[in-house]
Symmetry: C2
Subunit: 357 residues, 2 copies
């Protein structure tokens, strides 16, 4: 069976880290006898430079035809002067919508060997951090109507509509409950139901969906409290499910407390098996092309792709184990290094991981 993978290297460190992930996938291909076909397409800043638009039609087409999309990172100061529709980030938003990827899975995991890099005190980390943030990705204020009018309280106004419908909340809640069933069995649904009508609908739909999952514990939490609880006691969370906007904020906060942003992958999924996989970190233009970027988040994103889109569980595990083994031996890229560790570059880190497969 030939598996088609659309590859978007993107901007900044994107190309380097994607190259690392592809090398790992090629080794998996060889070792397990699969056949991966990589189709490189442009999106983001590099697409703007070449074609004038952040998401060329051809890219959408190829992504739709392929079995999964692997993405590096997009954006950078070079394109900051561009307005809304023409910015690199627009490519991400349109791809999510075009491919119907309504569920964004962002694991925030504390690596035992990287504990020291967490900004939180050791006492708070003694039970580890292992949170899976399930963020709704194709609805809410990101995709609601937006615009300008003269009906503001004090002059010209700009508005964005946060809107959620029953079916949209149902499907994302189901994703969260299914994931919780394979983990510690707890879902924390985060909203602002004491103020927002959309949150009140959200809360009642999630409560309804929970009835189909009697073994899962469901807790509701306000978003302001959640922003505090993540720092006060991160270990209380298992699966977090929340809206697009709150998920954007809270998933970044959750990954920061692990201290290992360069390590964290993400998956964006829809109805079928197709998904888009990317590191949660950005394009870091300041360190691009210097062979110092950490390829691990992208390599682990490739592992998520093998698991979620291709059901290659064993292959995914072998990548994850290889990463852990290399870290245990003390190898580190610059972003996660500390005293006594062996500092390596992007390429060396990739090779070390490949050798452990």
């Amino acid at each position: 069976m030939i598996i088609n993978i659309a590859v978007i290297k993107g901007d900044g460190i994107g190309p380097e880290i994607i190259d690392g992930a592809i090398d790992v996938l090629k080794k998996v291909e060889e070792y397990y006898g699969h056949r991966f076909l990589f189709k490189e397409v442009l999106a983001g800043g590099s697409a703007i430079d070449v074609t004038g638009e952040p998401l060329p039609k051809e890219t959408i087409q190829v992504c739709k035809e392929c079995d999964a999309v692997l993405l590096g990172a997009v954006g950078g100061p070079k394109w900051d002067h561009l307005s809304g529709e023409l910015r690199p980030e627009k490519a991400l938003l349109s791809l999510r919508e075009e491919l119907g990827l309504y569920a964004n899975l962002r694991p925030a995991v504390l690596y035992e060997s990287l504990k020291g890099a967490s900004p939180l005190r050791d006492e708070l980390l003694s039970n580890g951090i292992d949170i899976c943030v399930v963020r709704e990705l194709t609805g809410g204020i990101y995709f609601g109507e937006k615009g300008r009018n003269q009906k503001g309280k004090l002059g010209e106004a700009a508005y964005d509509v946060e809107i959620y419908s029953v079916g949209e909340v149902e499907r994302i809640a189901k994703v969260a409950f299914e994931i919780a069933a394979k983990r510690k069995g707890k879902v924390t649904s985060i909203d602002k139901a004491n103020v927002l009508e959309s949150s009140r609908l959200w809360r009642s739909v999630v409560t309804n969906v929970a009835k189909q999952y009697v073994d899962i514990e469901l807790e509701h939490m306000y978003v302001d409290n959640a922003a505090m609880q993540l720092i006060r006691d991160p270990n209380q969370f298992d699966v977090i499910v929340t809206s697009n906007m709150f998920g954007d904020i809270l998933s970044d906060e959750a990954s920061m407390i692990t201290g290992s942003i360069g390590m964290l992958p993400s998956a964006s999924l829809g109805y079928g098996s197709k998904g888009m996989y990317e590191p949660i970190h950005g394009s870091a233009p300041d360190i691009s092309g210097k062979n110092i970027a950490n390829p691990i988040a992208t390599i682990l994103s490739a592992a998520m792709m093998l698991r979620h889109s291709f059901k290659l569980e064993e292959e995914a595990n072998s990548i994850e184990k290889a990463v852990e083994a290399v870290l245990r031996e003390g190898y580190r890229t610059a972003d996660i290094t500390s005293a006594g560790m062996k500092l390596v570059g992007t390429k060396e880190m990739t090779k070390l991981i490949i050798n452990k497969l």
Copy 2:
């Protein structure tokens, strides 16, 4: 001159901590020869219990007539079954709107003597934390149109409109710049301008207002990044200015990293000198009536009231110095205590502070 102060004790620990603050104010009155008239009115859960509504008309009237409002805390599980318009929190939202309190000032300060209570590592605290969050309080998604309709993507939908007009952003930006001018001279404006139209208006208005404050450094930051930066390096912030919704989330995060939620006051201000002052912590029904609540945040809120609404700078300073002195001597309420400290109750803490005035 008689100064009229509307007092809303509220729910849970509200009455105890307000009593503490009033005792402190009475001592200030006596010592400095002022005349404070306290007018107690109901709002929140206790108002619901007595009158059936969270914000009786009389309360609004008295608050409008008085020179300032001092508030304990509202809400609790007892009223959680009530719906939107009838909840205790509704009193807060309506008071903000009725009194035109568009600027919410929430200082997040690390107390040297309470450093150990911060969830962040000591290395991150070596330069202290002293952030003033300026949150827009009468606009945005809190007060935009909200409702239900059948036009959702997948079934019945609920929506809330985030809306900001030029004048609303201008006035809150000015508050932030004025405050920064008396502090370290830096304003970080937080938005999601890469996605939201309201944020793009916000960003351009703040940029314009900045032209009147050439000595102040202005930085723009996306809200997801801000949620990370607050934990990664809180000392980079001086004044943060942001929308109602983002301010709700980020100010709670900022106060949590100081480790001293029981210590942090807040002020809500409008055009004139009138303001509403309250601790940022909640009503903590679980510990109410036990003489263990920390009255300091409320006492410091009273100090903010003296400074902002009555221009009694010296009196405000003397309260703040008294609090610091008591902490330096090792007295602690249960929420902030640690090994070797002298544990005291709400009343004892209040007396200790009064004795230092």
